[in-house]
């Protein structure tokens, strides 16, 4: 029968570990990572701003003040895209706020809270956004049919709905993975 002391001795006998990177390399990576986070913030703001500008630009350029299928459809699609980017921004911020130097108990509790929020996002907010996006896209179709050639219209319909289908599959996969992770975190306690 083994003793723990014998196992400890065995553990200590393992080959020495070499440092794969220098401290300076890691400092550089750390700084690059911080810059990436800041760039991510700016990117999110830039995407939302661009979408809002496109939406306003459309209304101004097309003088589309009356509510027709095209206007409602485009407004709906761009609005939910803004909502989606904003939600992801909130998620990323919430995730970054979880400090890595908490105790394991605090850390896993905060991670659980985070993934519970993500679960709500994926089961309530994203499906709502998705349905509104589909409605927006469907609302556009009569206008597209009237203004495009039959071939081009067919292309828009097929590519549009295919994208929506693939996106739905992608969302289900994310939801499944995050649920697994949530269960795992709950299992820690």
């Amino acid at each position: 029968m083994e003793t723990f002391d014998a196992l400890q001795t065995l553990w200590n006998k393992q080959l020495a570990v070499s440092h794969p990177a220098s401290a300076a390399d890691l400092m550089k990576k750390g700084e690059a990572h911080l810059q990436k986070i800041r760039a991510g913030h700016r990117g999110t703001i830039a995407i939302i701003s661009a979408l809002i500008i496109v939406l306003i630009g459309y209304f101004v350029a097309m003088k589309a003040y009356q509510m027709n299928g095209l206007t409602i459809g485009l407004t709906l699609m761009i609005s939910v895209m803004i909502a989606r980017v904003w939600l992801e921004g909130i998620s990323a911020t919430r995730f970054r706020r979880i400090r890595p130097d908490l105790t394991l108990a605090e850390f896993s509790a905060q991670m659980q809270a985070y993934y519970t929020w993500r679960k709500r996002v994926h089961t309530v907010f994203i499906p709502t956004i998705y349905v509104l996006y589909v409605l927006g896209f469907t609302g556009l179709l009569p206008t597209l049919k009237a203004n495009l050639s039959p071939g081009m219209y067919l292309y828009c319909v097929i590519s549009g709905y295919s994208f929506l289908l693939l996106f739905a599959i992608f969302l289900v996969r994310i939801l499944r993975n995050e649920r697994k992770l949530l269960e795992f975190l709950k299992g820690l306690n």
Binding site: Q14, H19, P100, F107
Partner: protein
């Protein structure tokens, strides 16, 4: 002290031990362990200014390491990577062929432990004191001692007989 000098000192002092902890956690997978250990030090660099000395610096680094190992799962689409191509070896001077085998059994047995027990075991093997471990995992020292007693029993039994 200058941040860069302090960081270099911490890296040189703690990298090997943290790497071994990560390697044990990822069932001997050197690549995952190396990635995680480097990620730990990137976080150390990013957060060093916020360290207020409420615990020892080693405890603080181990907290980051333990949470990073857990967090690594977020990047993996599956719960944990079980596959490993080669397990670590004992030092060349330890010629006993049985030791390689025992070490491999030990790694396999550590994998069989529940997640939190696995991390506690690895910190114990890396010579972290009980008060420090309790501060890293966030449980009382008394509860930790009871838990460690059970872990030691399970681990030795597993390495001896192959089951927990």
């Amino acid at each position: 002290m200058d941040k860069k000098i302090r960081f270099t000192e911490l890296y040189n002092t703690h990298y090997a031990s943290l790497f071994k902890l990560c390697r044990g956690y990822f069932n001997g997978n050197e690549a995952l362990a190396s990635d995680s250990a480097q990620e730990v030090f990137i976080k150390v660099w990013e957060s060093l200014d916020t360290f207020r000395g409420e615990s020892s610096i080693r405890t603080w680094i181990y907290r980051i390491a333990v949470n990073t190992c857990l967090l690594h799962l977020r990047k993996q689409s599956t719960k944990k990577e079980k596959i490993t191509t080669s397990l670590p070896h004992v030092a060349a001077e330890a010629e006993d062929t049985g030791e390689e085998e025992r070490l491999q059994r030990m790694y396999a047995c550590i994998q069989k432990l529940p997640e939190k027990d696995r991390l506690i075991t690895l910190m114990m093997l890396e010579g972290i004191s009980y008060p420090e471990i309790s501060d890293v995992v966030g449980m009382t020292e008394e509860t930790l001692r009871v838990r460690i007693h059970r872990i030691k029993k399970n681990l030795t039994q597993c390495v001896s007989h192959g089951n927990i």
